[in-house]
Symmetry: C3
Subunit: 433 residues, 3 copies
């Protein structure tokens, strides 16, 4: 199946599930994604302290709705799981319109949209409705509120998958799973992450170890970091958080907090030379899980890849963020970009000159075209000679590519030949330079 179709197929399977930061919807979603990427799942018990936080109780929901004074069922969870404020406590009682009103949430400036709201850390309840639905409700009388949820000790689930390379150094990819039925700001990230896994798995003789993390946003990644953060701190070469990467807007790269890390450098290189219809913006708080990866004490070289940023596309955090927002070709492009970035990292090892004093005579190595004077030079020949001489001062293929204003992957053939002919040497096998 071609990538964009595969993305759509799994989107359709994941869409209806009501997820949260804990609970069975989350587990069910992981179980579908495990068809694509062999996540190992971790269950962290409610009440476990994780740095400054504590794992909340587990929340599950069977049903929820309101019954109007006229007996009409509205705000039905079974029709749209956004109707119930996420983490609402169980309720089964009759209350006045006046009291109910304080539990209803709408977006008057987007009258067709059901807002998405949560109450993870305060035990209360609420319903979300489109402003148009809200206006049609009788403004007096007694309503029945029915919320069949459980909020009990249980556990928070997150997934991790490590694809070993020959090195301990790691490239990290992370996305989040915790929103109910939303498309761009929920499913685009996990889907791209899962398909990226297959692309990386295809790379032969991988040098880097690749770590894929999928967890509920914020608390899930904090739980992950509490368990693995210090262990991986010294290993992480680069990492990227995937969020909102399925709409048809331009690719947006948000810098890591460090802003000049190799994660930033390699990504910017690809955006400059190969995926040029793109934007960048600075690291910021109020974003996704890069907030945790880049938090003081960790400060990982982790940037964020998206298309139109969260909060900027108008459907964000509402029922309008549905399949119509997505373009699966655009989502596939994110997978290809990240896979290219990894291929860039894979060949970007330190190199030094293998040949000193004057240009090497390429003719006697059968690397030079016959007739002199023609003034024509194939690009591979040009890349070969450039690598040989420039690696004296630019010690990585990436730096050479940046000097040449080409993409690092264009150097691949010439790099292979130069290493084979010992015209350049890997740094480790060279004399001290």
């Amino acid at each position: 199946m071609i990538m964009k179709n595969k993305l759509e197929h799994y989107f359709d399977k994941l869409w209806p599930i009501c997820r949260s930061i804990t609970g069975d919807g989350l587990r069910q979603s992981f179980s579908i994604l495990q068809e694509l990427i062999p996540f190992q799942l971790y269950e962290v018990p409610s009440g476990t302290p994780v740095f400054d936080w504590k794992i909340p109780k587990e929340w599950n929901v069977k049903d929820a709705y309101l019954i109007t004074p006229e007996g009409k069922k509205v705000a039905q969870f079974s029709l749209n799981n956004l109707h119930l404020m996420n983490y609402s406590i169980p309720v089964n009682k009759e209350i006045s319109w006046e009291e109910l009103k304080t539990h209803l949430h709408t977006l008057p400036d987007k009258p067709n949209a059901i807002p998405y709201l949560t109450t993870y850390y305060k035990e209360t309840w609420g319903f979300c409705l489109s402003y148009n639905e809200f206006k049609q409700l009788p403004q007096s009388g007694t309503y029945k509120v029915f919320i069949d949820t459980t909020l009990e000790n249980g556990s928070l689930t997150y997934g991790q998958c490590v694809l070993k390379g020959t090195s301990q150094e790691e490239i990290l990819f992370s996305s989040y799973l915790c929103h109910p039925s939303m498309a761009n700001n929920e499913l685009s990230g996990p889907l791209a992450l899962a398909l990226l896994y297959s692309e990386i798995e295809k790379l032969e003789n991988r040098y880097y170890t690749y770590r894929f993390v999928l967890a509920p946003e914020t608390i899930g990644v904090i739980a992950f970091l509490a368990q693995f953060g210090l262990e991986i701190k010294e290993k992480i070469k680069a990492g990227y958080v995937l969020t909102c990467c399925g709409d048809h807007g331009k690719i947006t790269y948000q810098y890591s907090k460090q802003a000049n890390s190799v994660a930033d450098e390699m990504m910017l290189h690809f955006l400059d030379t190969k995926y040029q219809n793109s934007n960048t913006r600075d690291f910021r708080v109020g974003g996704s899980d890069e907030r945790q990866y880049c938090s003081p004490g960790f400060n990982f070289p982790v940037g964020t890849i998206m298309r139109t940023p969260y909060k900027i596309y108008p459907e964000y955090h509402t029922s309008l963020d549905n399949k119509s927002v997505l373009d699966f070709s655009c989502l596939a492009e994110i997978v290809y970009l990240l896979s290219d970035v990894c291929r860039g990292f894979e060949i970007n090892h330190k190199i030094v000159p293998g040949h000193l004093f004057g240009e090497p005579m390429l003719g006697k190595r059968n690397l030079y075209p016959d007739k002199g004077g023609a003034g024509i030079m194939s690009s591979d020949l040009m890349f070969l000679l450039s690598l040989i001489t420039l690696c004296e001062i630019h010690h990585t293929p990436l730096q050479v590519a940046q000097r040449l204003k080409c993409n690092i992957l264009e150097l691949q053939t010439a790099l292979h030949i130069a290493l084979r002919e010992k015209l350049i040497l890997p740094f480790s096998s060279s004399e001290k330079l």
Copy 2:
């Protein structure tokens, strides 16, 4: 009295006085300014060597004029003190037009302007006239020259005022007092300096010590530096010379010689983020007292603040540089700018993270709005989270503000909360980082 009115009130009092680099006009002007700022005055005797220079004789003037062959009094000092070349020796004699002519100075290309000239270091005399006046003088016959001045051993006066903070580190402000009746290039600087004093005095718990210097240009500041220069050399954090800051042109900041000092950095920050209708230009010789503060051996981090630079506004160094050139609101804006810069310095102490590993949970500290998911973040909350995470790599509020592209003073509330909650720590009380 509001600031611009106060500036105008004192302008009117200082305007008529004939000042020079020494003498009673200078002392009288200081005495008026002492109503606003408690200057301590220093008298440096004539003949005192000050570095490469020597304090000149003291000059005082009672009257001066010419009488034409027809008996008409012209070039009367009592009508405009620019008519007499500053530092002219006493003269009382009749001379021919031919001889007189060599002592007359005009500006043919500004025919209504009396030029401003001095002869501090060569004992001679001269009269300055508008070209229009000059043309009406009889071009032959005998003139009477009357100059009732004294040039005798005495002293040079300068003023200094030190406002103590808790630290030995200093912020320096300096302007000059030595020109006769001119407005922008004489009174704008001392007036702004005097009013700035009141603004700084209002700042509570001042960390920095503030030093205000007012002295005759060049020789006066050299005298000041000869007495205090080496003592303050290690204490000066930043400083600014005030000159020509009362016209309605754009604010102009001239870099210190160092060009990348904290004086430059903080001023540029305010010009970038709060006073944006402004220009910058590089340090140069041929300017004001920054030439001395930045001279080899001192090389103080001292920049220059002005509006339209000296030599560029057409009234410069002529009788046209009068009250009509000034806009007292513009002059007040300079006071506010410098006062803001000081407030910036006052909060710009080194900070380090107080909270490691993951975002702090703000909810349990009552710092987070109730409903999740809303995608709305107050600017103080955003500043708080930004300070907490960014101070790991940007160790001052100024650097954080520059990363956030906001003004440092916007961070004040968040900085206060973060320090109170120990989410960030002052560098000095932190463990070695």
Copy 3:
């Protein structure tokens, strides 16, 4: 004789000679150039290993032509020495059109141009014709091929001339001599190099030692470097390769591989401040002898100066690259530029303040205009005061000039006065700063 006429005079003498990377045409050309610059000549025997290369056999040519089946002499070497592929082996035989065809070279897209081709490192032969000539040849029958060349053990010739200064530090100029009758891409470089010698010789009290190298491109410079490269490696302060510098296009400076060497810095300074109708471009492989000078192990600070770059001007490497391509005034401008750059290096010694604490009083040194207050400052006075103060942080005249945005040579008078008056000091004679 004025420079452009002298350039043209020697151009005309050198033009007809058939040069190659070895042989008597090369020696004859050197002998003419020795009228302008006292080259010492070196002969490197065929077969000598030079780094990765080996000196080829020596090639000489008496005559060459083809006779068509109809008995017509064509492709006559005696009419244009480009007709014979350079380094063709001797041939004297009759062959069929079919066989001959594989030895004929044309440029169909430039039908009037005879291409320039060589076969230095593969023993074969060939003729080059304009496409228009080629089309008129009978396409069948038997041709006579006559090539009266020798390819025998002999030697490769190159020239070097060292003009001693008081220092061991060197400025290097290099060009190449190896092409038959072509103008811009052959004679422009050697001619400029030769005339530059006279300009440098005129400089009094030269500090730097100047080394002029003229050698066959690539192999000749490799031979030079094999003999002198390691000896001069530590001495070379800056160097420039001259190529294609006689057309009327803009001056082009190609950076050294280091890109931020003093060679680059000084040249860019002159292009920015004095020769502003110019371009720059980055170092690249596939260029001229900078490939050898900048090769790993040497990495000399050597840039390349040209006008329209090789391969870009349409006459390159064809018979169209003749006298009509040249503008001898433009060629002369290259000589002046390089000579200016040398004058810049000659005065660019480290300096430190000779006067501390406050501006020096220039009046008592008779360096200040009489009347104060005029606001006018001669440029030399401005340069003097600027050098005195700025050399505290910018330790060379070049850095001072860059801060002042003027040309370094404009500082010459002020520099002389400041040193004479000990207002600045040469670094070496100063106390430790």
